[in-house]
Every structure is written in structure tokens, then in C-alpha cells.
């Protein structure tokens, strides 16, 4: 029988992959993709909790939907920043975008 632990396990692994991407990628877009993976991992948790722990008001679904909305907003703004940085600095590698570094 597939229980909550199975879903949370997949989610934990996916979260780990996303975090690894965020931590090691130099390209800003690739980092954004890592973040999307982490957000999806969180969403799996939300939806799994709805089914296995607390289905009232389908709270987890609502949370997941709001997370998807925010992910879209985040992608839009983040990618706009990437474009802007690329046009000004000719690079999207975050270790070269260091204007704030003293």
C-alpha cells in the first residue's frame, strides 16, 4: 500500500535534487529551475498531506495552487531580472554578477 511516507520520500529526494541544482549551478536560469523543483517537492507534500492527514477544506490543494501562482510570479520576475542582467553585464552567471560585492 502506498502511504504518505512514499510520497514524502519522493518529495524529499526531489527537494534534494533541486537544492543541489541551486547550490551548484552558475547559470541563473538553471538556478531558477532548481527552485522550481524545490517548489514542486513542497507541493507534493501539501497535496499528500491533504489526502493522508487533513482533507477538510482541501487546505493543501489551496496551498499548492497558491504556491503555483507564486512560482509563476517568481519565474516571471526572476527571468526578467536575468534578462536585464544579461543585457547590462553580458552574463547570466551569478558568480560574475557581483555588483553588490564590495
Amino acid at each position: 500500500m502506498i502511504g504518505p511516507a512514499h510520497y514524502l520520500g519522493v518529495s524529499a529526494l526531489l527537494f534534494g535534487l533541486g537544492l543541489y541544482g541551486v547550490l551548484t549551478r552558475r547559470n541563473a536560469v538553471a538556478i531558477l529551475m532548481g527552485i522550481e523543483l524545490m517548489l514542486n517537492a513542497a507541493n507534493i507534500n501539501f497535496v499528500a498531506f491533504t489526502k493522508f492527514v487533513d482533507p477538510t477544506f482541501v487546505r493543501g490543494h489551496v496551498a499548492a495552487l497558491i504556491v503555483i501562482t507564486l512560482a509563476a510570479c517568481e519565474a516571471v520576475v526572476g527571468l526578467a531580472l536575468v534578462i536585464n542582467a544579461y543585457r547590462h553585464l553580458e552574463t547570466v552567471n551569478v558568480d560574475q554578477v557581483n555588483l553588490m560585492k564590495g
Binding site: 495552487l65 503555483i68 501562482t69 509563476a72 516571471v76 527571468l79 526578467a80 534578462i83 543585457r87
Partner: protein
């Protein structure tokens, strides 16, 4: 419930087959030539140079983002439409406010020329 999703699976399968089948048929039936010249993109033109990837103008990104943000509305409008009859005027006002704010967003995008083609 699982049976409903079987339809989805069948559809996905048929879709995949529809995509792969023509390729397979072509691979089976089409004659192949062995000349080296046949392998370049244009047999009678200049050999292309540089990257095959080409960069887009930023403007297309603006369409993309406007599309995405208004795509999100479906998350909210669809469930709203489902329960509208049940909840009545209150839901109508709530959605009016929601769409009003998004209308402001649209107006801003419009005014900034984010929707202008070319």
C-alpha cells in the same frame, strides 16, 4: 475514478503514436542517399555558419510573461465558476475585485506597450 484516468492514458498513448508513427513510416519507406553533399542543410546554397540557435528580441518575453500571468487566472476562475451558483452575489463581488486588480495589471501592460506586436 481510476477508469476515468484510463481515458487520459489512452489519449496520451494515441498522441504519442500519432507523433512517432509518421516518423517510423518515413524511416521505413523513404529512400536514402549516400552522398556527402546530401548531409548539408542546403544542397544548393551557402553553407551556414555560426550557431543554429538565434536570439529573440526581449519583446517576445513580455508576451510570454503577460500570457503566463493571465494563464494563472484559470486557477481561480475555474473553481469560482463551479461554485458561483452556490455562493451567489458574494462570490460575484469577490471575483469582480479580483478581476479589477488584474484589469489594472492589464492596463499597465497595455500602456507600457507590452502588448504591441512589432
Amino acid at each position: 475514478m481510476p477508469l476515468d484516468w484510463a481515458y487520459v492514458a489512452v489519449f496520451a498513448l494515441v498522441g504519442a503514436v500519432m507523433a512517432v508513427l509518421p516518423l517510423g513510416v518515413v524511416w521505413l519507406l523513404a529512400p536514402r542517399s549516400q552522398y556527402a553533399h546530401k548531409r548539408i542543410p542546403y544542397e544548393s546554397g551557402i553553407v551556414p555558419f555560426g550557431e543554429a540557435w538565434s536570439q529573440f528580441h526581449v519583446r517576445y518575453y513580455l508576451f510570454g510573461l503577460a500570457f503566463l500571468l493571465f494563464d494563472i487566472e484559470v486557477i481561480y476562475i475555474y473553481p469560482w465558476a463551479v461554485v458561483l451558483r452556490e455562493l451567489g452575489g458574494f462570490a460575484l463581488v469577490e471575483m469582480a475585485v479580483f478581476l479589477g486588480v488584474l484589469g489594472v495589471a492589464l492596463a499597465y501592460a497595455w500602456k507600457k506597450g507590452a502588448l504591441e506586436w512589432a
